[in-house]
Each structure stands twice: as structure tokens, then as C-alpha cells.
């Protein structure tokens, strides 16, 4: 069998990449000594793919439909797939993100049976008017659960501040109102458009030989659709949508999320480098070893809940940070000052080296988890990057590059979302 390999030398682990005859890629990482085996079958289709062409006509589908379809694929003519996987001792699940829908299971035994089932059911939607209606009750309760989740609400309010048009701001599960408009026909339109080999990938992580995986894929993959997917996203202005958004919920103390858009659209190796550099710069600015963190913590403007994140994808990117604070506006002001100071002074070499060493250590640490490796492989593939190039990217990121991307991103205005107590 023909497959490519990419080895991360420092760690001694290898990605095996196989191309099925339909063009669909299969990625595999061997984890010697691990009991757990994980397989994922995913499509590069998520909550932000709401406008696309069907039979030559542009359609706009209801918010939350990708997630709705994810729920429905588990239901098959001869029963519920969740049930079948658990009967074989596997634990099945799926998730829908802004840009992906991924079906997966993990198990320790009977991998082959479970893997065949996964590859089979994702190619076989079984939708009826009745089962689509029934799902509205379940998803409705999922939506209601998120309505009460302050962390989730403040995060989406920030995205709403940052983005004017980009559909990344759309709620992943939609709303009670939007899902009421979903029907069987629309779901099939989405399925037929986005569940095609060129838009999908299979990822497997576990302790076995690569050929055994690839031959099962050969046997099980038989897509009828082969069309190329054309995705349409509106041109997002460089400016933000609004500076501030506030909501009230039953929380004990205000909660804030602050962020900035990254307007540069990069992909491949450049994306990896940019993520690493922005990660180091953000860590330097507000990580636990920063002056800013100590100041805010000691003034009790933030607490242990404070977090930050770099989220770069080939079609959108943002940096965000936040947590609980008795005075989000004051906190945001102090953070903005610190950002401006680092923008003008730049990061010092000693801190840069130390943080880079630490971040690379964290990356190596993350390779302890089979599930994490599988998720990252899928995400990297859909962003046209190679996960094990991260090591090489760390070597290439230097202080000048880091200072320059940090300055570039913070040329943009930041936005602030706040949840206040009732």
C-alpha cells in the first residue's frame, strides 16, 4: 500500500497519510502501549456554512442545521448508532464546531467492528419527517441548556462584537426558532453538498499497524457524491461590529470576554507559525508570569478563572481572554494599556526564550492524549497544515516575527462582552 509518512523527530512519533481512490485522506498515528483507540470520520462543514449552492441555485439554510444533521446521522433504519457502539463497549460521540462536523468513537477492544460501523453509518443518512420532528425536542433542550451557560453566552457575545458578517458568530446549535424551520429535504441538501470525499477525512490513533486501517477504509468507502465543495463566506470588514455587549444572567459576579480579530488569512505552515507566535506574545502579555497578571490578580480584578486563547483558522481568526471580574471595564482598560506597552517596547529576549521553551513543553505534554492527537490531526488537515510540523514551526518562530505579528493584530480594535448578575 502507498502512504506518506511524516515523523516528528524529537518525539519519535509518525503520522501515516493515505489517500483513498476517491481522493479522501486517512491520517493515522500509532501510539505504542496505549489501550485506547480512537477513530474519527469528519467533514469540513460546520455551523458557519449556511450559504451554498444546490443545483445551481444559492440557498440560505437555517442556523444550527449542521449540528442538527450531526444528531440525525446517529439514527439509522435499523436502530440508534449510539446504542450499537455502546453494545460493543465503544464510546461514541460527535461534535459540530464552526467549520467541522466530526463523528468518532473510542474503544479498547473490537476496534475493527466499530471502525466499520463508523465508516458505514456516516455514509448512510436515514431521515424521515417523524424522526426529524422528534429531534427538535432534544436539541431544543440542548439550546436551553446553553442559554443558561454564562461562559458560553459571553463567548458568543464577544464573537458578535468582533464580527460584522462572518457566520462564525452564528450559534452552533441555532435557536429554538431557527431549528423549527429545519426539515428532511434541507438536511439532505446539506448532506449531499458537504459529505463528499474531497471535503472529508478519516483519522485513527492507537496501537496497531497502519495497513490494517487503510485496507478497511478501502473496503468501506463508497461515496456516490464526488462533487467539489464551493464554500461561500461574506467578505468580513476589517472593523469590528461593536465595541461592547452586555447581558444579564443568574451569576454571582460579572464575567467578561475580551478579544481582537486577526484579519490576516493564512494557511499551511504560515498558520502554524502565526499561531505559535501569537500564543507566545499573548502568554507574555497576560500569562501567569506576566506583570499584568500579577497586578490584576493582586488588585483582585481577576481570579483563577482568567484564561486566554489564540484561535486561528484558515477562514477566521481571533485572540480572546477573560474570566470573572468585579469590574470588567476597568480590567479591560488596564489590559489595553499593557498591550499597548508591549506593542511599543516589544518582548524581551529572555522572556521570549523562556516562554517558547515552556509552550513547546506543553505541546509535547499534549501528546499524552489519544483523543487530543486525533482532534488536532483532523483540525490540522482541514486547515491545510500538518500537525507534526509544529516542532519545525517552533524552530522557525523568532522574536522579531513574534513582535511583528503581535503589533499587526493589535492594530485592530478590541471588543468587550460582559455578563452581569441580575
Amino acid at each position: 500500500m502507498n502512504y506518506r509518512t511524516l515523523t516528528y523527530d524529537k518525539i519519535g512519533e509518525t503520522i501515516y497519510e493515505y489517500e483513498h481512490k476517491t481522493g479522501m485522506k486517512v491520517l493515522f498515528v500509532k501510539k505504542t502501549g496505549y489501550n485506547k483507540k480512537t477513530a474519527m470520520f469528519g467533514t469540513n462543514y460546520g455551523s458557519m456554512d449556511s450559504v451554498f449552492e444546490v443545483r445551481g441555485k444559492e440557498i440560505h439554510v437555517p442556523d444550527g442545521i449542521a449540528h442538527f444533521l450531526e444528531h440525525k446521522l446517529f439514527e439509522q433504519e435499523d436502530g440508534n448508532m449510539l446504542d450499537k457502539f455502546t453494545s460493543l463497549g465503544a464510546s461514541p460521540n460527535a461534535f459540530t464546531s464552526f467549520s467541522q462536523t466530526v463523528y468518532y468513537f473510542s474503544c479498547t477492544d473490537l476496534f475493527e467492528e466499530n471502525f466499520r460501523m463508523l465508516l458505514d453509518y456516516v455514509q448512510k443518512p436515514w431521515l424521515t419527517d417523524e424522526n426529524v420532528e422528534k429531534e427538535k425536542g432534544i436539541i431544543g433542550q440542548e439550546i436551553r441548556m446553553y442559554e443558561d451557560n454564562a461562559d458560553w453566552r459571553v463567548f458568543f457575545n464577544l464573537l458578535d462584537c468582533l464580527y460584522v458578517k462572518h457566520p462564525v458568530k452564528i450559534e452552533i446549535a441555532g435557536t429554538i426558532d431557527s431549528i423549527s424551520k429545519i426539515n428532511k429535504e434541507l438536511l439532505y441538501d446539506c448532506y449531499n453538498t458537504f459529505y463528499t470525499p474531497s471535503n472529508m477525512a478519516v483519522v485513527v490513533v492507537g496501537d496497531f499497524e497502519p495497513e490494517s486501517i487503510f485496507s478497511i477504509v478501502d473496503e468501506m468507502i463508497h461515496f456516490k457524491n464526488a462533487g467539489k465543495v464551493e464554500k461561500k463566506y461574506p467578505d468580513e470588514p476589517e472593523e469590528i461590529n461593536m465595541e461592547y455587549k452586555e447581558q444579564k444572567l443568574a451569576v454571582s459576579m460579572p464575567l467578561f470576554n475580551m478579544g481582537v480579530k486577526d484579519n490576516a488569512r493564512v494557511t499551511g505552515f504560515e498558520l502554524l507559525k502565526r499561531r505559535i507566535a501569537l500564543g507566545i506574545a499573548l502568554y507574555h502579555t497576560m500569562g501567569r508570569s506576566s506583570d499584568l497578571y500579577s497586578r490584576l490578580y493582586e488588585e483582585r480584578l481577576i481570579n483563577d478563572s482568567f484564561q486566554f486563547d489564540v484561535s486561528l483558522n484558515k477562514s477566521y481568526g481571533y485572540l480572546s481572554w477573560g474570566g470573572q471580574s468585579p469590574d470588567p471595564k476597568k480590567t479591560a482598560g488596564i489590559i489595553s494599556e499593557a498591550i499597548n506597552e508591549i506593542k511599543s517596547k516589544g518582548i524581551v529576549q529572555e522572556a521570549f526564550d523562556r516562554i517558547k521553551k515552556s509552550q513547546e513543553g506543553m505541546f509535547i505534554r499534549s501528546l499524552n492524549s489519544v483523543d487530543n492527537i486525533a482532534r488536532e490531526l483532523m483540525d490540522s488537515y482541514f486547515n491545510d497544515t500538518n500537525y507534526f510540523d509544529v516542532g519545525k514551526a517552533y524552530e522557525q518562530v523568532d522574536i522579531d516575527y513574534t513582535n511583528s505579528v503581535f503589533r499587526e493584530v493589535f492594530e485592530n480594535r478590541t471588543a468587550l462582552a460582559v455578563i452581569n448578575p441580575l
Partner: protein, 437 residues
């Protein structure tokens, strides 16, 4: 498919002054770690004092007196991690200190275990103290943080309803005390009385220490020799057994209104099964069949058949012998959901259980036992549980005991289970159903 069946074991290395040292044998991980647990009886008087100790220690130590210095040092050590916190298992409280770092294989020859474990020891042997108490300015900040943290528990409505159900259900028992105590208890703490609790911890609480990953014998021996070497540990505190017996006189109903969209139902049951009894294993299988995974009765009936909820599940509290069933529902579906849940509990008592249900639950439990061995932290937690109950089980023997469970065993346990408290976090109506925020 490849096979790898090396046993994951915990080897006892030493025992001195109420401290037991274990080494976890498993070499597949990219990290090494040391976990230290001090144990106390869960009590209203001491819970908050014990809980503030890890917060104080995370602020630094004699060699690294500020967070900035401490964190910078950890960054230099390839992003090593030091963490601390409290938890409870039954009516015992654990104060845990955890250190982990990447294996020396990836550090160009730099050896991390000794440096990292010295840092860990510095944190709990030489905390930031002035005169006869913890450093006051830091103490005030952490005490206020703790109050904020306790208040913020209401933010997570699912966890909050679970905690409230347990508090109401075990109102006269120590188990009702949260792992970090209550706001009023926190406010009684001061630098002086907290330092006294700290000294009791290091001098009298029994301790368990676990070392995992690629650590050489010499470094381990050095760690054992120096661990608390300067502390006088003559009198070790006696740890109580958690009581699992309490008669249920009548089922209590607690409704708590709040401005939320979705109602959270939490039903508390007593199983009267001790973690060391033979009935523990049938209880675990029972819980799996009733509400453990998507094959379970609760998932199938509450979610898939009736479309009432996104989640419906049951969980066990092993040490206190409790089972809690949770589901998020519309307020108007509350009695319907309760009826369906209680029908499933009844069906279990009548032995209305298919052979496939038992097999599915067993397979899922076996998978759980195996995958736990792929997580360094989970392995430590597993062995801590065994050492605590002096059960002597390992992953393989425990899997064998689960496999030996029969339908009769499950029904016998099912018939002991009694509903005690129904808690409902009830939408107060101020958020209308149509409102989309």
C-alpha cells in the same frame, strides 16, 4: 491489531510516619509526575481551613516568593506544572499537591524531576509566613477569592443542582459539607488560625505519595529521604469510615426557583452499599444499565423515546453509597420526566433487564477500566481509591469482579436502592419560552 497488556501497578516503596510512597509502573507517557495527598476527616470546623492551604501555597514559597518568580521558574523547566487543590471522597477531605513535567528524553539532557520535586516540596514545606501567621496581604486576597469562588458555584447550573441536592439530602451528615467549606466558615479564617491548620496538616494528617513516569531510582530515593524530613510526625490522625446507612423516612422535595431557561432535576437515592462490600460491583453494573451511557434505560427512555431532555444520566458517589440522577428539562415536563425516571428505577427492581443490557454495561465498564490506564492522573486517582479502602484491587482484578456479576446480584442491589430527595432548580418564569437572547 496490536496487543499490549502490560499490567499497570502501584508498587509500595516505603512507609514512614504515616506517609506511604508508591511508584506507578507505566512507561508510555511523555510526562513524569509526583502527587501528594494529605487526608482529613471532612468537618465543618476544618473544611475551609484545609481548602485555603493550596491557594496560599500556590502564591509562592521561600525560594520563589512571588507568583511571577514561581511561574517563570516553571516555564524554564519546559512548562512544568504545579497545582494544588482539595477534593472529597465520601466524608474524607483530600488536600492534593501535584507536579508534572515532560520526560528527560525531550530536554536535551536536562534532568527535571529533582528540580521540579524540590519546587513542590518548597511550596508545602516553606510557605510564605510572617511572624505567627501566613503573610497577611496574600492571605486576605486568597480568602476573598475563596468567598468569590464559593459564590460562583451558582454559575454552573448542572453542578449547582447536584451539589444542592446532596446538601439537602445529607443535611445532618458530614457529607453535606462542600469540599471547600462554606462562606461563613471561610470568614472565620485568619492568618494565624490557618497557619495552625497548616501545621496540623504537615504534622498529623496521613499522606499518600505517588511517583509516575520515567524517574530513576536514585531520584526517587532522594525524594523519599527528603520528603518532610524536618517535620516531627509522631502522632498521626485517625481517619473515620464514611457511614452509608441512614434510614429514609419520607421522600423530600426541594424546589428552588431561579431566573433560568431550563429546569434542572436532580434525584438523590441511597444505595446502602459500602465501597468495600461484595455488593459494590453489582452496584456499578446496576448504575451502568440504568443511566451510565447511551445504551442505558434513562438515555433511551427520557431522551430518545420521550424527547424530553438532552441529557439524562445517573452517577454514583462510591464512598457515601449515593446514586444521583440528573436531567435538564422544561419546567412543564417535570412530572412526566420524574415518572419516566422512576419507572426505570422500578424496572430495575423487578429484574426487567435484558441480557444485552448487562453485556453492554459490562463492556462499557471494561473499556473505562482500560482507558483509565492511558491517563497518568486517572491511574493515580484509581490507586488512591484502592489504598484508601485498603481493597488491594488492581485494574485487572477489578475488571474480573465486574465480569462475575450476575442478574440476581444486580436485582438484589436494585431492591436496596431508595429514593431520598428530589431537587428541582425551577425556572421562575421571568425568562419567557420564546425569548432568544
Amino acid at each position: 491489531m496490536g496487543m499490549h497488556s502490560d499490567k499497570t501497578t502501584a508498587e509500595k516503596l516505603a512507609e514512614k510516619n504515616g506517609i506511604v510512597f508508591y511508584r506507578i509502573n507505566s512507561d508510555k507517557f511523555k510526562t513524569s509526575r509526583a502527587d501528594v495527598f494529605f487526608v482529613d476527616n471532612l468537618s465543618k470546623e476544618r473544611a475551609s481551613g484545609n481548602a485555603i492551604l493550596p491557594l496560599m501555597m500556590k502564591r509562592g514559597c521561600k525560594s520563589y516568593p512571588t507568583v511571577k518568580e514561581l511561574e517563570s521558574k516553571l516555564e524554564e523547566l519546559y512548562g512544568a506544572d504545579i497545582n494544588a487543590g482539595v477534593s472529597k471522597k465520601g466524608e474524607l477531605q483530600f488536600i492534593g499537591f501535584h507536579m508534572s513535567h515532560i520526560s528527560d528524553r525531550y530536554t536535551n539532557g536536562e534532568r527535571l524531576f529533582e528540580q521540579c520535586s524540590d519546587l513542590l516540596m518548597c511550596m508545602f514545606e516553606n510557605p510564605l509566613i510572617e511572624e505567627d501567621g501566613f503573610k497577611e496581604s496574600l492571605f486576605r486576597q486568597e480568602r476573598d477569592n475563596m468567598v468569590d469562588y464559593i459564590r460562583s458555584k451558582v454559575n454552573d447550573k448542572i453542578r449547582f443542582s447536584l451539589t444542592r441536592c446532596i446538601e439537602e439530602m445529607c443535611v445532618d451528615e458530614p457529607f453535606s459539607i462542600p469540599e471547600d467549606g462554606t462562606e461563613e466558615d471561610v470568614l472565620l479564617l485568619n492568618p494565624k488560625n490557618t497557619l495552625a491548620i497548616y501545621q496540623e496538616m504537615v504534622k498529623t494528617y496521613p499522606a499518600y505519595v505517588y511517583i509516575s513516569g520515567e524517574v530513576d531510582d536514585k531520584s526517587i530515593q532522594r525524594f523519599i529521604d527528603s520528603f518532610m524530613a524536618s517535620v516531627d510526625r509522631q502522632k498521626i490522625k485517625k481517619i473515620n469510615q464514611t457511614n452509608v446507612y441512614k434510614e429514609v423516612k419520607e421522600v423530600r422535595r426541594i424546589d428552588e426557583p431561579m431566573d433560568v431557561s431550563q429546569g434542572k432535576l436532580c434525584m438523590g437515592f441511597r444505595t446502602f452499599v459500602e465501597p468495600t462490600s461484595d455488593e459494590y460491583y453489582p452496584l456499578v453494573v446496576y448504575n451502568g444499565i440504568l443511566g451510565g451511557d447511551p445504551h442505558s434505560k434513562l438515555f433511551r427512555n427520557v431522551r430518545e423515546k420521550a424527547s424530553l431532555a438532552y441529557y439524562a444520566q445517573s452517577v454514583l458517589e462510591k464512598y457515601k453509597g449515593l446514586m444521583l440522577i440528573m436531567s435538564g428539562i422544561e419546567a412543564e415536563n417535570r412530572s412526566k420526566a420524574e415518572d419516566i425516571i422512576l419507572e426505570q428505577v422500578e424496572a430495575m427492581k423487578k429484574g426487567d433487564i435484558e441480557k444485552e443490557d448487562i453485556e453492554a454495561a459490562l463492556k462499557s465498564l471494561e473499556t473505562g477500566m482500560k482507558t483509565m490506564q492511558d491517563n497518568q492522573g486517572a491511574i493515580v486517582d484509581f490507586f488512591l481509591s484502592q489504598h484508601l479502602t485498603e481493597s488491594g484491587e488492581d485494574f485487572n482484578s477489578m475488571t474480573e469482579k465486574l465480569r462475575a456479576v450476575t442478574l440476581d446480584d444486580i436485582v438484589r442491589v436494585a431492591q436496596k436502592v431508595q429514593l431520598d430527595t428530589i431537587y428541582f432548580l425551577k425556572p421562575d418564569g421571568s425568562r419567557s419560552k420564546e425569548e432568544v437572547v
